[in-house]
């Protein structure tokens, strides 16, 4: 009996390791910016280019930065969830319009609805690179001190909203 125990044990360990691996997403690149200050920038707004926006403008508030584009199909998927979040008024939601054309972006918002307090126009994607954006949509939660506390890669689902985002916002607002 004992001589079968060792190979069986090794096999069981291997099965557990592989089973856990199957639940992970190998394409996800965790962000090294969690816990670091949100990189500063100053960019024109989408609807009013004469007005600019910088993260420092929102110091003292917990806020969400959502990277989106009119050419991004998955952004349409998460749009209803973002709209719900914006309508709940628990947190200001700002959009970073990434590598888009101004007209296309404005048309997209008009067609599907605009959940954002304002959208920021990042035409060449430089700010996106500073924030480690590699796949749109991506969503950041930034706290009152301007530190990035959470990054969601991919569309925000209702589950993620309920289980991760809303509790974190509540926690950050308490602090």
């Amino acid at each position: 009996m004992n001589r079968y125990l060792l190979p069986l044990g090794v096999f069981a360990a291997l099965v557990i390791l592989l089973a856990v691996g199957l639940t992970l997403n190998p394409r996800e690149v965790p962000s090294p910016l969690i816990g670091k200050p949100a990189p500063p920038f100053r960019l024109p707004q989408l609807h009013q280019p004469e007005q600019t926006f910088a993260p420092a403008d929102l110091k003292g508030k917990v806020w969400i930065l959502n990277v989106w584009a009119s050419w991004c199909a998955a952004c349409r998927d998460e749009h209803p969830v973002l709209t719900d979040l914006a309508n709940s008024r628990i947190v200001p939601v700002y959009g970073l319009n990434y590598k888009d054309k101004r007209d296309d972006a404005i048309a997209w918002l008009k067609r599907y609805g605009d959940p954002y307090d304002a959208s920021i126009f990042d035409a060449d994607g430089r700010v996106g690179i500073d924030y480690g954006v590699y796949g749109v949509p991506e969503t950041y939660i930034i706290d009152k001190q301007g530190v990035i506390r959470y990054k969601r890669i991919g569309p925000v689902t209702p589950e993620i909203l309920k289980e991760k985002i809303v509790p974190l916002i509540a926690e950050l607002n308490r602090g």
Partner: protein, 148 residues
């Protein structure tokens, strides 16, 4: 008649980029970095829009005088260790680097001990003189020896 052929223009072919030396350095750095969209390609090989943007960033920074280390630091700061095409050798990646060799050594060691034990088991039986004679008889095909 032959002079009706296509007009010829003799001149030096223009290089594809303005500064080939700079481009070589950009490609060298880009070959050490991973494209985050096509994650099995280097930044030098990939045609993803993000890869083009990042190569432009590398080129600009090099023009401004940044060193290779500066640029790699810039990328790792924003995208983490995964952006390095060759995983760094640190505590977190120790298992990745050492794992295969360690497994192979463990496997070879297990095989060695298995074989050594079998050799010992096989060598164990010591036959007495009578048993040896009986064995010889059996091997010689003497059917009577079995009954004896």
């Amino acid at each position: 008649m032959l002079s009706l052929g296509c007009p010829a223009w003799a001149g030096e072919a223009q290089p594809a980029v303005a500064d080939p030396a700079l481009e070589d350095r950009v490609t060298a750095v880009a070959s050490e970095l991973r494209c985050l969209v096509c994650q099995n390609q280097t930044l030098a090989d990939s045609n993803a829009p993000l890869a083009v943007d990042l190569r432009n960033q590398i080129r600009e920074r090099m023009r401004e005088g940044a060193s290779e280390r500066d640029i790699i630091g810039f990328m790792v700061e924003r995208y983490g260790d995964f952006v390095l095409y060759r995983p760094p050798f640190k505590a977190a990646t120790l298992l990745l680097w050492v794992g295969p060799i360690a497994l192979m050594i463990a496997g070879l060691a297990a095989l060695y001990y298995r074989l050594a034990r079998r050799r010992r088991e096989v060598a164990k039986p010591e036959l007495s003189g009578e048993e040896r004679a009986r064995a010889a008889a059996l091997l010689a095909g003497d059917a009577d020896a079995e009954k004896r």
